[in-house]
Assembly symmetry: C2
Homo-oligomer: 139 residues x 2
């Protein structure tokens, strides 16, 4: 619940892709789906979105087609994926609700109070790149 399912899937799929697609090696969506336990059709949509909104992956239609990473996986942070899928506000919001409230009280004490943990979470997502995950061999 730290992020949406869509986002969770994106992270898993990209981590797998990063770990297993050496350059010019196209992987089948079906294979990735099975290995990462993500519904195949849904994964298709995720890769479509990733392909059209980022330069992280390249897909190839037709025989011998598939999906491959087009950037080094150490360059993709969890934070990048979360921002893309769920938006920035996902993380940087007061436990008390949206930013709206906080802007109404620019010196909102609640927000100050939360900021320590929000910073910790942010740092964690910033420092965790896909290759860090790959090294843990979670598949």
């Amino acid at each position: 619940m730290l992020y949406s399912k869509y986002c969770e899937y994106s992270i898993r799929a990209l981590a797998y892709l990063g770990a297993n697609s050496q350059k010019k090696n196209y992987l089948l969506v079906k294979e990735i789906s099975e290995k990462t336990n993500i519904p195949c059709a849904y994964l298709h949509k995720i890769f479509q979105d990733l392909a059209s909104n980022t330069n992280w992956i390249v897909s190839k239609k037709g025989r011998n087609g598939g999906v491959t990473m087009s950037i080094e996986s150490r360059k993709i942070k969890l934070m990048d994926i979360i921002k893309l899928c769920d938006g920035v506000q996902t993380i940087r919001k007061c436990i008390f609700g949206g930013e709206k409230e906080c802007k109404a009280h620019p010196k909102c004490k609640m927000y100050e109070y939360c900021s320590y943990i929000l910073n910790e979470i942010t740092t964690f997502y910033e420092k965790t790149t896909l290759d860090v995950i790959a090294k843990m061999d979670p598949f």
Copy 2:
């Protein structure tokens, strides 16, 4: 996105209630709804659920009725509310997905890797009680 809207509302509503209902002082749901910016009908349901699943609040029907806190607000932690509304797994799950995966790999390195930040978050929710919030006067 750290928790559901339902949970966020519950926190806000309880915080307001804790801060404003001295014992035996019943507050109108309508008033709470306006002050906390929660849709009135929805708030009704939240209070119903709280009344039947916890011993935190008491409601009184009829004229001069309303809702009041039946426990000291320093005894309610954010964690309690989150557990109640969204379930424990909300917090204590690996960034890689459910516990299922982690149980399959009992020594899952990903889970180990996450546990620091998960502990930080848990601690934050454990230490933040409703009276801590009330002291910040966020309404």
